[in-house]
C-alpha cells in the first residue's frame, strides 16, 4: 500500500532584510496597469514536494539547504496529506487578492530539474516536485483588473495559468494517462484538391496543394495509405523553415526598369554564386565549409577554423518572448555544436527589431504583445540563456519600426572555434543513432510548420504548443560532453535537434544511408506521448550522433560521468529508407530519396517597381545642433547600453575590443574583437549591417549598404576585409505576393554584386518569410529586413582600435566620399523626402583595404564608421565617448560629386557608404594620407581641449553647430533605458 504524502512550502522574503527585490520589480511592472503605490506586495515561491512517507524532518532539511536562503528568507510549511486538495491561498491573509501562477501541464520548468538534483544529493531521490509563484496584493481590484494584471503582468497565457483568490487550483501532480498504441492511417488515394487542402490545414501540416498532390501520387504508387507519422515527417522536412522553398525556387522576375530575369535557383545564382566565384580566386584556402553544414566555416590559422551562423526565432518570440528568444540562442548554439564534428561556441550575436516601446496601449492590435513587453522578454531570454551557457553575447543591433509590432524579429548568432581536421563528418551504415541531452516532451509540436505561416491574433492560443522553453544548463552539460567526446574521436557525425525534432535531425543525417529508429526507446519527460509526437517534438537541448557500435560504451560512460542522459535509439542502416518502429510495430517506411528529393519544385513570379521618387525635402526647422540631438535620441541610434550590459560579454576571457568603449566604457563600438586562442595574437572581429529604412525605397541598395556596413564594422576595429566572411538573413513578409518576392529578389541581386565588389564570400545564411501579423483589419507586414553579419580575421589584436577620441591636438580625417543620397536616412525622417538610397562606390574595395593597412601600420588612434546619422553622429559619438572635443570644417569634406546640392546639414547627415572618420596624430597624417593616394580622404578637423563639438560650415566662416559633449551624450544615453524599477 502506498502512502504518498505531499508538502507545500511557501518561501518569502524576511521583512527585516529591507525591501524584497522581487516585490520592488513587480511593483514597477504593475504601475503600468494600476495604481499600486501604497499597496502591499508580497511575492513568494511555492514548492510542492511529494514522496512515499515523506516526513517533515526531510522537508525541513530541503528547506534549509535548497528551498530558501536562511539569511534573507522565511518559510511556511504545510502538510497537504495525499495532496489531492491544496491549501487555501486566502487563509491568514488580510483581504486583498492572491494570485497563484503556475506553468501549464507539460510546459518545461527548468527549476524542477535542479531541485531534483539537489534533493538527490540530500538522499531524497525519487520525489515529485512542482513549483508555483504566489503574489499577494493588498488592494481592491475588479474582476477585469485581475484578469488584465494576470494576463499582462503576472503570466504569459501561452504557457502559464493564473488562479485568483479562492478559485480552485487543481493538484499539480495530475498524472498524464499512459499512451496506448494505435496506428493512424490516412487514405490519400482519390482525395481531390479540396480534400487535400483540408487535410493539410487540419493536420497543421502547412503543405501547399502541389505538395499534397505529389504526396498523394506517391502513396497511390505505393498502393497503401500514408501513416500519420509519414505525413508529419514529410511536412517537417518540406517546411519552409527546414528546407527553404522560396530562395531556391525558379523565379521569373521583372526588375525596376521592366527588364526580365529568370532564376532557376535564386540562391545558387546570387548568394552562393558569389561565394563560388570568390573561392575560385582564393590563393590560400579561406572558405572551409559553405552552405552545406549547420554553419559556415572559414580558416582562422593552420590548426583552427571559425564557424558562424545566424538564425531567427521570430514567431516563437512574438508569442512567448522570453522562451522564444532563449530557445533562439539555444538553437543557434546547437547549430555551432552540430557543425562538422562540433565547434565550441565562443561569441554570440543578437539583433532585434521591435515595435516602438512607447506605443500607446490603445494602438496595440488585438492578440499582439506590447513591444516593451516583447523587448524586455527577448532581452531577458537571450541574457539568461547566453549567460548561463557561458558564452559572451557581444555584438548586435536594435531597430524599431511600427511594422514590427505584431511580428518582432529576433536574430541570434553564434561563432565557434573548430579544429580544421574536424570540419567534415560522415555517417556510415551500421553506426548507431544516439540521442544526447534533454528528454522529449510535448513542447514545440509543429514549431517548424508554425514558423512557416503568418501570425494571427489567435496564434497566441492556437499555437501555444509550438512554444518551447529552454534549459540552458542541460545544453551546457552536453556542450561539455560533446567537446570531450569529439576530442576523443567517439563519434562520426553529429547534428542538432532543431525545428522538426528527431524527424529533421535523423532524416538529414541518414539521407545517404537510411535510418531505423525505435521510438519507444526515446526517454520522455512524462508519459502519454504518441509515437508521432516523440518523432516531431521540438523539445530543446537534444543532439543526435552517429556512433560506431564499438565506441558506444565509452561514449555513454563519458556522458554519464557528466550527468547527461544518452540513449541508443536506432541504426543508420544503408538501405536508403527511413524506418520507424514503436514497440515493434512499423509506423513509417519512407524512401529517403522521396523525402529529400520528392518535393515539387516551386515556380514563382516576382516584380519590383521603384516607388515614386521622393524629392529631397525642403530641410527641417531644426538647426543642425538640435537635429543632431534629435537623431542621437532616436531609438535606432540611441545607446543600447541597457541591453548590452545585461549580457556577460567578458566570459571566457577572450574579449579584446569590447562592445562598449571609451573613457567611461559607454561608447558604441562598431565591431568587437575576440581572441579565440589564449596563446596567440591572432583574433577575429565580428560586426553586422542592416538598415530596414532603406528597403522600402530600394531593396537592392539596402542590400549593398548592409554588406558595406558589415564590412565597415569589422574594418574599423582592426579586421582584415580580405579575410572576411559574411552571412545573409532575409526576414520578409509573405512572398506569395509578387511585389514582396520582388523586393527580395532585388536584395539578393544586391548581395551578389556587393559580395563580388568587396571580395567577401557568403558562407551561410537563413531566411524567414511570412513575417506578417493578421488582425481583423488587415495584415501588417514587416519591412524588408536583411541582416548581414560579418566575421573577419585580425592578424594582430594589439593593432585593434576603438572609436573613442583619445587626445586633443590630433587630426580628424574623413575617408570616403559624401554624396547627395539621403533617401531612407535619419535626416530624411526629419526633413521629409530624401532622394536615393546610398550606393556602393566603385572604389569601395580599395578604401576598406587602405583603411585596414593604416590600422595595421598603427597610424590610427581611433576610427568610427559612418552609418545612421552620418558624419555628425559619428563625430559626436567619438567625442563624448573619449571625453575629447572636436572641431570640423565642412568645406574640406571629400565630395567628388562637386557642388551636388548638398547643403551643410546634408553634408553632416548624409549616410553615404564606405566612409570612416579617423583620428590620427599630426606626425602620422602624411603617412596616413599617402596610403589613401587616389582615394577620397582628407583632413577635415582636429580634436581639441574642452568639452564641445564645433562645426564650421562650407563657407568657411559660420559655425553651423556648436554643442556641449555632455548635452549630446545625455540625448544619446537616456532614451532606451527600460528598467521596471
Amino acid at each position: 500500500m502506498t502512502s504518498l504524502r505531499t508538502w507545500e512550502v511557501e518561501v518569502h522574503w524576511r521583512e527585516a532584510c529591507g525591501d524584497d527585490p522581487r516585490a520592488v520589480e513587480l511593483r514597477g511592472q504593475l504601475a503600468d496597469w494600476l495604481d499600486c503605490r501604497d499597496c502591499g506586495i508580497r511575492v513568494s515561491s511555492l514548492f510542492y514536494l511529494r514522496g512515499e512517507a515523506l516526513e517533515e524532518e526531510q522537508v525541513s532539511l530541503a528547506i534549509e539547504h535548497l528551498l530558501s536562503d536562511p539569511v534573507t528568507q522565511e518559510c511556511e510549511l504545510r502538510d497537504l496529506g495525499d495532496g489531492e486538495k491544496l491549501s487555501d491561498p486566502m487563509a491568514g491573509g488580510d483581504g486583498g487578492h492572491v494570485a497563484t501562477v503556475r506553468k501549464k501541464t507539460g510546459v518545461m520548468e527548468p527549476v524542477e530539474e535542479s531541485l531534483l538534483k539537489g534533493l538527490d544529493d540530500l538522499g531524497m531521490g525519487g520525489l515529485m516536485v512542482r513549483l508555483a509563484l504566489r503574489v499577494r496584493l493588498s488592494l481592491s481590484m475588479t474582476a477585469e483588473q485581475r484578469e488584465l494584471v494576470g494576463e499582462k503582468v503576472l503570466s504569459n497565457p501561452a504557457i502559464e495559468d493564473v488562479f485568483w483568490d479562492q478559485e480552485e487550483i487543481p493538484s499539480p501532480f495530475s498524472a498524464a494517462a499512459p499512451y496506448e498504441f494505435s496506428l493512424g492511417k490516412v487514405e490519400l488515394s482519390g482525395v481531390d484538391d479540396d480534400g487535400l487542402v483540408a487535410l493539410s490545414l487540419e493536420g497543421q501540416l502547412s503543405l501547399n496543394l502541389d505538395e499534397m498532390c505529389t504526396i498523394r501520387d506517391h502513396f497511390e504508387s505505393l498502393g497503401r495509405p500514408a501513416t500519420d507519422i509519414e505525413l508529419e515527417t514529410i511536412a517537417q522536412t518540406w517546411s519552409e523553415h527546414c528546407c527553404h522553398k522560396t530562395l531556391p525556387a525558379r523565379i521569373e522576375h521583372e526588375g525596376p526598369d521592366g527588364e526580365k530575369f529568370v532564376y532557376e535557383n535564386l540562391l545558387k545564382e546570387t548568394i552562393a554564386r558569389a561565394t563560388e566565384e570568390l573561392m575560385a580566386k582564393e590563393e590560400t584556402p579561406f572558405c572551409l565549409s559553405v552552405f552545406k553544414d549547420n554553419a559556415g566555416v572559414v580558416a582562422f590559422d593552420d590548426e583552427y577554423g571559425i564557424s558562424f551562423k545566424v538564425e531567427t526565432h521570430n514567431h516563437p518570440s512574438a508569442i512567448e518572448p522570453y522562451g522564444g528568444a532563449g530557445t533562439g540562442i539555444g538553437g543557434v548554439l546547437r547549430d555551432t555544436l552540430g557543425t562538422g564534428l562540433g565547434a565550441k561556441p565562443i561569441v554570440n550575436t543578437d539583433v532585434f527589431c521591435f515595435g516602438p516601446p512607447d506605443l500607446a496601449m490603445e494602438e496595440l492590435p488585438a492578440g499582439a504583445l506590447h513591444p516593451l513587453r516583447v523587448l524586455r522578454g527577448v532581452v531577458s531570454g537571450v541574457r539568461d540563456y547566453g549567460n548561463r551557457m557561458g558564452i559572451p553575447t557581444a555584438s548586435g543591433a536594435l531597430y524599431f519600426d511600427d511594422r514590427y509590432i505584431g511580428n518582432p524579429l529576433v536574430y541570434c548568432g553564434s561563432v565557434g572555434l573548430i579544429p580544421r581536421s574536424m570540419v567534415e563528418k560522415v555517417v556510415n551504415p551500421g553506426d548507431r543513432v544516439v540521442a544526447l541531452g534533454g528528454r522529449t516532451g510535448r513542447d514545440g509540436i509543429h514549431g517548424a510548420t508554425f514558423s512557416s505561416v503568418e501570425l494571427t491574433e489567435e496564434s497566441e492560443t492556437v499555437s501555444s504548443g509550438a512554444v518551447q522553453i529552454g534549459n540552458a544548463i542541460t545544453e551546457k552539460k552536453f556542450l561539455d560532453v560533446l567537446i570531450k567526446a569529439r576530442d576523443r574521436g567517439l563519434y562520426r557525425s553529429v547534428t542538432d535537434c532543431g525545428a522538426g525534432g528527431f524527424s529533421s535531425a535523423v532524416g538529414e543525417m541518414g539521407e545517404d544511408t537510411g535510418a531505423r529508429v525505435d521510438l519507444e526507446k526515446v526517454p520522455l519527460k512524462y508519459e502519454g506521448l504518441s509515437y508521432w509526437e516523440i518523432w516531431i517534438s521540438e523539445a530543446q537541448e537534444r543532439m543526435v550522433f552517429a556512433v560506431e557500435p564499438e565506441k558506444y560504451a565509452e561514449f555513454e560512460a563519458l556522458a554519464e560521468s557528466e550527468g547527461v542522459e544518452c540513449t541508443d535509439i536506432g541504426e543508420f542502416t544503408g538501405n536508403g529508407k527511413l524506418e520507424l518502429f514503436y514497440e515493434g510495430n512499423q509506423v513509417c517506411d519512407l524512401g529517403m530519396k522521396f523525402l529529400h528529393g520528392g518535393r515539387p519544385p516551386a515556380s514563382l513570379t516576382s516584380v519590383f517597381r521603384k516607388p515614386e521618387a521622393e524629392e529631397p525635402g525642403d530641410g527641417c526647422d531644426l538647426d543642425a545642433g538640435a537635429l543632431l540631438r534629435a537623431i542621437l535620441a532616436s531609438p535606432n541610434v540611441a545607446s543600447k547600453e541597457w541591453v548590452i550590459r545585461q549580457y556577460d560579454h567578458e566570459v571566457q576571457g577572450r574579449s579584446i575590443i569590447k562592445p562598449l568603449q571609451g573613457k567611461d566604457a559607454d561608447g558604441p563600438g562598431d565591431g568587437v574583437v575576440f581572441t579565440p586562442r589564449y596563446d596567440s595574437l591572432r583574433g577575429i572581429a565580428v560586426g553586422c549591417g542592416m538598415n530596414p529604412c532603406y528597403g522600402d525605397i530600394d531593396p537592392y541598395r539596402m542590400a549593398v549598404s548592409a554588406v558595406d556596413e558589415a564590412i565597415r564594422n569589422i574594418v574599423a576595429c582592426g579586421g582584415n576585409p580580405a579575410r572576411t566572411a559574411i552571412l545573409d538573413n532575409f526576414c520578409w513578409g509573405n512572398t506569395d505576393r509578387p511585389e514582396t518576392l520582388g523586393s527580395l529578389v532585388e536584395a539578393a541581386r544586391g548581395c551578389y554584386d556587393a559580395a563580388m565588389a568587396l571580395g567577401t564570400p557568403f558562407v551561410s545564411g537563413k531566411d524567414s518569410l511570412n513575417n506578417e501579423f493578421r488582425t481583423g483589419d488587415g495584415t501588417l507586414s514587416i519591412p524588408p529586413s536583411l541582416l548581414i553579419s560579418s566575421l573577419a580575421m585580425v592578424e594582430d589584436i594589439s593593432c585593434s582600435v576603438t572609436m573613442d577620441l583619445k587626445a586633443p591636438g590630433n587630426c580628424l580625417l574623413l575617408v570616403g566620399a559624401t554624396l547627395a543620397e539621403l533617401g531612407g536616412s535619419h535626416y530624411a525622417k526629419f526633413s521629409g523626402g530624401g532622394g536615393d538610397v546610398p550606393h556602393l562606390p566603385p572604389e569601395a574595395f580599395q578604401i576598406h583595404q587602405a583603411m585596414h593597412e593604416a590600422i595595421l601600420q598603427r597610424l590610427v588612434r581611433s576610427c568610427h564608421d559612418l552609418s545612421e546619422g552620418g558624419l555628425a553622429v559619428a563625430v559626436a559619438e567619438m567625442s563624448f565617448s573619449g571625453g575629447v572635443g572636436a572641431r570640423l570644417r565642412l568645406a574640406d569634406v571629400p565630395r567628388p560629386g562637386g557642388e551636388d546640392g548638398l547643403d551643410d546639414p546634408g553634408l553632416l547627415f548624409s549616410e553615404s557608404n564606405c566612409r570612416y572618420l579617423v583620428e590620427v596624430s599630426e606626425e602620422n597624417k602624411d603617412a596616413f594620407l599617402s596610403i589613401f593616394a587616389g582615394l577620397p580622404a582628407a583632413s577635415i578637423g582636429q580634436t581639441c581641449e574642452g568639452e564641445t563639438l564645433d562645426v564650421v560650415g562650407q563657407d568657411g566662416a559660420e559655425v553651423v553647430l556648436s554643442e556641449s559633449l555632455e548635452g549630446l551624450r545625455s540625448s544619446w544615453k537616456e532614451p532606451l533605458i527600460f528598467d521596471a524599477v
Binding site: H65, S114, K117, L122, A472, K476, S561, G653, L681
Partner: protein
C-alpha cells in the same frame, strides 16, 4: 610545483579561463568535474590550491550557488574542511564565492549562517568593469608586497558579471567583526579611468559599487586568509589586451609580439601570488 584543482560541475563556465590564469602563473592545473572526486577517482588532498570558478551552477535556479553548495556539503564536507584547516588555498570567484558563503566556509565563523550574496540593488544582471582596492594583508592571493609572486597592485580593475553579488550580513554588528579580523579583502572604488592611481571609495554609489554591497565589499577572506571569495573576475584580466581601455595607451610599434603576449593584466598577480605562496611553503618544508 603548485598543484591546482579547478573544480567543475554542471553549469560552471569560467573553468577554462581560470585554469589558463593559474597555468600562466606557473601552476600545474587539473580541471575536474566534481563527479571524479565523488566517485573517488581523484582526491582533493592531492592538491595545494582549490579554485571554485564562476558560472551558473545548476542554473542557479534555487538561488546562486545553492545546489552546488548543497552537493559539496552533503558529499565532500569533511575533505573540504580538512583542506581549509590545513591552510591550503581556496579561491571562489563569482558563483564560487556564492558557494563558499552558502557553505559557511566564508566568513568561516562557527554557528548560524550569517552572510549571503543577494540580488543586486539594480535588480538585474550586469556586466561592467569596476575598480577595486585590496584591503587585507593576510591573504596570499592579494600579496601587495610581492612576497611570493608578482606583487598585487593595491588598486586593480576587473569585470563583474552577476545578478546576485550584494554582500549582506544578517546582523550589521558583524561587520565590525569582519573588519577587525581583517577579513574584508577587496572593496569597490570610484574609478575614473586608467590614469587614476588611487580611486576614491565607492561609498555605496552605483555603478562604482555595482550591486549595493555593504561597505562596498567585493571580496572577503577567512580569518587565516587562505580562503578568498570575490565577485569580480580577475581571471578575465590576466593579459593587458583583455583590459577595458588599453587602446587609450596601446603597445608601441617597437614592442615585439612576445613582449605584447607576455604583458600582464591586473588580475594576474592573484594567481601568481597563490602559486608562489605554495612553492615557497614547499621550499620551507623541504
Amino acid at each position: 610545483m603548485a598543484k591546482v584543482l579547478v573544480l567543475r560541475t554542471a553549469g560552471v563556465n569560467c573553468d577554462e579561463e581560470t585554469a589558463h590564469a593559474f597555468r600562466l602563473a606557473g601552476g600545474e592545473v587539473s580541471v575536474l568535474h566534481v563527479g571524479s572526486l565523488l566517485r573517488g577517482e581523484e582526491r582533493l588532498e592531492e592538491f595545494d590550491v582549490l579554485a571554485i570558478p564562476g558560472g551558473f551552477s545548476y542554473g542557479d535556479d534555487l538561488g546562486a550557488g545553492t545546489v552546488r553548495a548543497n552537493q559539496l556539503r552533503t558529499r565532500l564536507a569533511g575533505d573540504l574542511h580538512d583542506f581549509v584547516d590545513e591552510g591550503k588555498l581556496v579561491i571562489g570567484i563569482c558563483n564560487g564565492f556564492q558557494v563558499l558563503v552558502r557553505l559557511g566556509i566564508l566568513p568561516g565563523w562557527e554557528g548560524d549562517k550569517v552572510a549571503s550574496l543577494i540580488e543586486n540593488v539594480s535588480g538585474k544582471f550586469e556586466d561592467r568593469w569596476i575598480d577595486l582596492r585590496v584591503e587585507t594583508d593576510q591573504c596570499p592571493f592579494l600579496d601587495c608586497k610581492g612576497e611570493h609572486g608578482a606583487p598585487c597592485p593595491r588598486y586593480l580593475r576587473a569585470p563583474v558579471a552577476h545578478r546576485e553579488g550584494r554582500f549582506f550580513l544578517r546582523d550589521p554588528d558583524l561587520l565590525e567583526r569582519l573588519r577587525d579580523n581583517g577579513q574584508i579583502a577587496l572593496t569597490y572604488r570610484q574609478g575614473s579611468g586608467d590614469d587614476d592611481p588611487e580611486p576614491a571609495a565607492a561609498g555605496g554609489a552605483y555603478p562604482a559599487n555595482p550591486n549595493g554591497s555593504v561597505l562596498d565589499i567585493s571580496g572577503i577572506c577567512n580569518e587565516k586568509g587562505n580562503v578568498l571569495g570575490l565577485m569580480p573576475h580577475p581571471e578575465r584580466f590576466v593579459h593587458r589586451l583583455q583590459g577595458p581601455s588599453w587602446t587609450r595607451n596601446p603597445p608601441g610599434a617597437s614592442e615585439s609580439a612576445l613582449e605584447t603576449l607576455s604583458s600582464a593584466g591586473d588580475g594576474f598577480s592573484i594567481f601568481s601570488g597563490a602559486v608562489g605562496f605554495v612553492n615557497d611553503r614547499a621550499d620551507k618544508i623541504r
